[in-house]
Amino acid sequence: MSAPAILARGLTRRFGTFTAVDALDITVASGTIHAFLGANGSGKSTTIRMLIGLLRPTAGSIVVDGIDVIRHPRRVRDRIGYMGQRVSLYQGLTLRENVEFYAGLYGIAGDELAHRWGALRERFDLGEAEAERPEDLSGGIRQRAGLALATLHRPRLLFLDEPTAGVDLHSRALFWELIQEEAAAGVTVFVTTHFLEEADYCDWVSFIDNGRLIADAPPEELRRRFSPGYRIELALPPSARAAARAALGGAERAVAETADGVCVVSPRLDGALLAAVARLAAAEPGARVRVEQPAMPEIFRRVLAEARA
């Protein structure tokens, strides 16, 4: 297993007597999408600003891509792309001029810039926006432009602070496709959001409340620990129900007969269970299947209620 892309231990930041971030341990595996969730004011932005070397922690250690961020805050910046809550494009300059400015900061020019920007412009659908000024672009296009600029220098890590806040649903969906493509290409993505359902687009989830980490696990594990489990309803004729109950039973699973078939509740949705359901449904022409996946907001409600209890 390769070294983690981000490794923070005991990360703490106090402002006067107020502890904004309290002894966080964060480990992010290389090439994964790591969601950092929490309500407004919970400490998300303070954490991300420390991770990228913009804010010095009161205590703790941070290693990003092998670099000690506290000792060498500048050295880490070439390796990372950052996009803040308010996309930092210069007003008055066109998008194309913004691109040239940013490219210059990273020493990208000439053919390399033409090639790199050409690819991003097409992938992020920014061709029409290129000659416009940021103040004339919609929020969704500005966000896409911000992400394109953050990836211009091919960073190994992307830090995105609330990239989908204040952006409409369609732009949010496009944005997540782009983020997943980046991860598929090997980029590590650390992203904060207050849209809890977006946790399902990620490989790992940390959840922060009042500066403290109250959950740190893959979404599937949170489902297992903080929900009644997956519920699968299979509508079947009475004659097929006894066999179905026998076929679907297993450790951790609860199988019951319902008014129109059988119902299984299981903390995990393993391949064997899905395959068994598919076999039963295929054997009965009139069979109907409904799978209920516990919703992320409900899971985080339980996480939060337990943490505050």
Binding site: A39, G41, G139, G140, F195, L269, Q293, F300
Partner: protein, 310 residues
Amino acid sequence: MSELAVRLRGLEKRFGRRRALAGVDLDLAGREIVAVVGPDGAGKTTLLRALAGLLEVEAVEARVLGHDLTGDVTEIKRRVGYVPQAFGLHRDLTVGESLRFIAQLHRIPPATAAARAEALLVRTGLRPFVDRPAGALSGGMKQKLAVVSALLPEPALLVLDEPTAGVDVLARREIWALLEAARTHALVVLSTSYVDEAAACDRLVYLESGRVLAAGTPTELGGRVPLALYRVWGDDPRAIAEAARALPYAQGARAAGRCAHVTVWTGRAPEAARIAADLAGLGAGGVRLVEPAPLDMESILLAFAQGLAA
């Protein structure tokens, strides 16, 4: 049959040369929770502020609670509760003082106001913070206080602009419990960027470029979308989604948790059994189970945003 709570015909609002509302037609009866949804800049906030009697508007007809929006709106303002997007409370007043202040503005007898306030504070968990200045409350508590303040005069119309944006999940649920209680005696109109909240509303109003593109129950809006949804369960939902996008009749596919949501064009797709077989045979991501599912709210709203709805 009672009179409509809201009846708008050709409602317009200009800010300089820009038409924020460009002819809104809308009928709303009472005792429902209605979400105003749509892309950025569609006019959602402007419509909500107009309904609350806060803007000078032009219209062929614009009646709210039986009063004319283009005339004297004093009576409308008296009967409407409004929660703006930005924090609109007096920071220096305590929770208790804020509510007494609002009761005085609305000339609610002190004993009545105290009883209502007590019930609302207990229900929202704000009771222990009654002596804390509003400015010192957490984000979730501030927002709860804003909703409680709007409810205190028992408005017939409650208008809320993104009441739960950025608020923690527990506070969100408490705010929703208040809205559901308010629905028993009032029309509740809100905007939200949370899909699960839009799905929980009785009715949706989809705005685009200052006009109502569609209004109806979630099921009615779903009926205008020419798409069907299949949920494909397997080992690697992202790989499944990517493979499914290549099907000629697929409109889109995205991974969410353990499944891929695949939307197909109903007009172009083969029969359901064929689709299920195609998806089961994708040969990527380890497909285990294909489930035809009702269109979910996210698919519906995305279809409207992409201009696919009839």
